[in-house]
Amino acid sequence: MAELKGQTSMTLLDQLKAVVTERLADLDGVVALAEEHGNLAPHLFCAGDDLSTLVLGPRYPIALTVRQLLKHHPGARLGVVARGCQERALIELANWKQLDMAQIEVIGIPCTAELAVDCRCDVPYPTQLAVGERVEGVQNPLLAEFQAAKTREQRMAFWQHQFAKCIKCYGCRNICPLCFCETCAMEDEVFVDRGRLPVPFPTFHLIKALHTAGSGKCVGCHACEDACPADIPLSLLYTLLRQDLKSTFGYDAGKQTVGAPPVLMGEGRE
């Protein structure tokens, strides 16, 4: 992961701390990243707390942490220091009725150009920035490489090679900010054989893909791909599914607030 270096990012951090201090006067707390003893973790800062451990990054999927906090503190109003992807995750979690955006005040921070490239991210900024400036997003370079694989055999070979590396660590599922089901189909023996490696068929991966990217949950945060110890280009698969949903149903997860999760059918298809 790219680290933030140099004078500019220190100034940004100080600016952020100033904003957090100011907002803590009105909010019940602010969720941000803290680094202690070399370990990075989400931290709930409250009014009067020492902000010296607060850091900008590297990025972290804090959305589900926020969901848990709000479950345990109904009625609380929390600030959340969020990059673009995590803001989209929060918005989509609200669409799926897992939290109430009225309890959240997003304190938006931008990603750097290096981070955008590292994440292959096309939207490296939240809807509003509390500090800093936007940089432009990038296209996923794997997309071009994959689209160059013209024949069916080439495509199958590509994915066979990628999925053969999978060790079923469930990292992709565990880190996904939109994976909140208490019983997961990826662990259901009706679909997936336990203890079988390499996977005889990509059902394991297709469940993750269809249930997140194919269902209007995936916000393209790329945490899954980051978490994967085998460097499987999951974001490539999910990007293609997300593009399909956007072009067919106009649904772009995390970019719009809806009253209920999307039932994906109808008009667009034919």
């Binding site: 799926w96 009725k97 897992q98 069916r152 055999e153 080439q154 495509r155 199958m156 070979a157 590509f158 994915w159 066979q160 053969a164 909140f180 089901c181 208490e182 019983t183 997961c184 189909a185 259901d188 009706v190 679909f191 390499p198 005889p200 068929f201 990509p202 059902t203 297709l206 469940i207 893909a209 269809l210 249930h211 194919g214 269902s215 698969l237 293609l240 599914l241 399909d244 067919t248 209920a260 999760p261 999307p262 039932v263 994906l264 059918m265 109808g266 667009g268 298809r269």
Partner: protein, 323 residues
């Protein structure tokens, strides 16, 4: 024989005072609704004309206690054809509302929620064609949470809720994925699988008796699994079936605008497109999973369709996923 002493002369007015029942006595018993009715093709006991006539005559007890008033699935095939423009499914709704007040409830199975695992996302609520689901607080192990709840008087047991639920928390008894999977008796491992064809049919798409008989007794190498609605079938289930040895899968649902459960087939069509795109992306032939949408004019099409799928299954080699 109907004894006039058993009739309730004010029943017609009671129904007409109920929302949905306003036009009950406009009916002149022409029987167009009965001849159009999709439910009636499957269950001759269901006769909308008869129900409206009985209600109009005052056969209160007979109508309210019947199982038949619960069979209308509000597909509304009859409505545009009724010469008196009676919204018959609304009349059925009115009769049901009165029946509920009298203490009757819908017979038969309805969807059931596992409140422990339900994460109250609301997708089933949005997807249900009958607005039979809502999120309600439940207390479990001393803590209160929201979970989906089934209104049994509205539920038509179509299984669409089951198909959209990502956490396997709602199902119709006998139609869970493990049940459907168990009915698919293919070899569990590739490449030892025989060139198996899996056919999944909805309850309503086969209109000819000969087609129904063929589905009940398919040729060797074909397994037919029946579901209430094609919308019950998920892409994950289809992928699993490919994994478990189906060389070819055929999903048969109702023609557009003829879904017995309002929008099940529309949902399934969209899933079909998504699955085909995904299979193609992975380098798997999309034609391994075929979808057919049959209407009343497609009598006799089914056996030929299955036989073509069997030929396709023979031509398609096992998916050599593991090299």
């Amino acid at each position: 024989m109907i004894r006039s002493s058993t009739l309730a002369p004010k029943f017609a007015h009671e129904v007409m005072a109920e929302p949905g029942g306003e036009h009950l006595i406009d009916c002149w018993s022409c029987g167009t609704c009965a001849s159009t009715c999709l439910v009636r093709r499957y269950d001759p006991n269901f006769n909308p004309r008869l129900i409206l006539r009985q209600a109009g005559m005052g056969m209160r007890e007979a109508v309210l206690s019947s199982a038949e008033i619960w069979l209308c699935s509000a597909c509304d095939a009859c409505y545009p054809r009724c010469p008196k423009q009676i919204h018959i499914s609304e009349v059925m709704g009115a009769l049901r509302a009165i029946a509920i007040r009298e203490g009757y409830e819908r017979p038969g199975i309805v969807a059931q929620v596992n409140v422990e695992t339900c994460i109250a996302c609301g997708l089933c609520v949005a997807a249900c064609p009958y607005e039979a689901l809502s999120l309600q607080p439940v207390t479990l192990n001393g803590r209160t949470k929201l979970a989906a709840q089934v209104d049994r008087d509205r539920c038509m047991a179509c299984g669409i809720c089951n198909s959209v639920c990502l956490s396997s928390s709602i199902s119709v008894e006998g139609f869970e994925d493990r049940d459907l999977g168990a009915r698919f008796a293919a070899q569990p491992d590739l490449p030892q699988a025989i060139n198996h064809t899996l056919v999944i049919t909805c309850n309503w798409c086969l209109h000819a008796e000969a087609d129904v008989a063929y589905a009940a007794n398919p040729p060797e190498g074909v397994t037919v699994v029946n579901v209430p609605c094609s919308g019950r079938v998920t892409p994950v289930f289809l992928t699993t079936a490919l994994q478990r040895g189906a060389h070819k899968i055929l999903v048969v649902g109702c023609k557009e605008d003829e879904c017995h459960y309002r929008h099940g087939n529309k949902l399934e069509r969209s899933r079909a497109d998504q699955l085909h795109g995904l299979l193609d992306l992975l380098g798997i032939e999309p034609e391994r999973v075929q979808f057919a949408w049959l209407g009343a004019e497609d009598r006799g099409v089914f056996p030929a369709l299955v036989e073509q799928c069997m030929r396709d299954a023979r031509a398609l080699e096992a998916i050599r996923w593991q090299s």
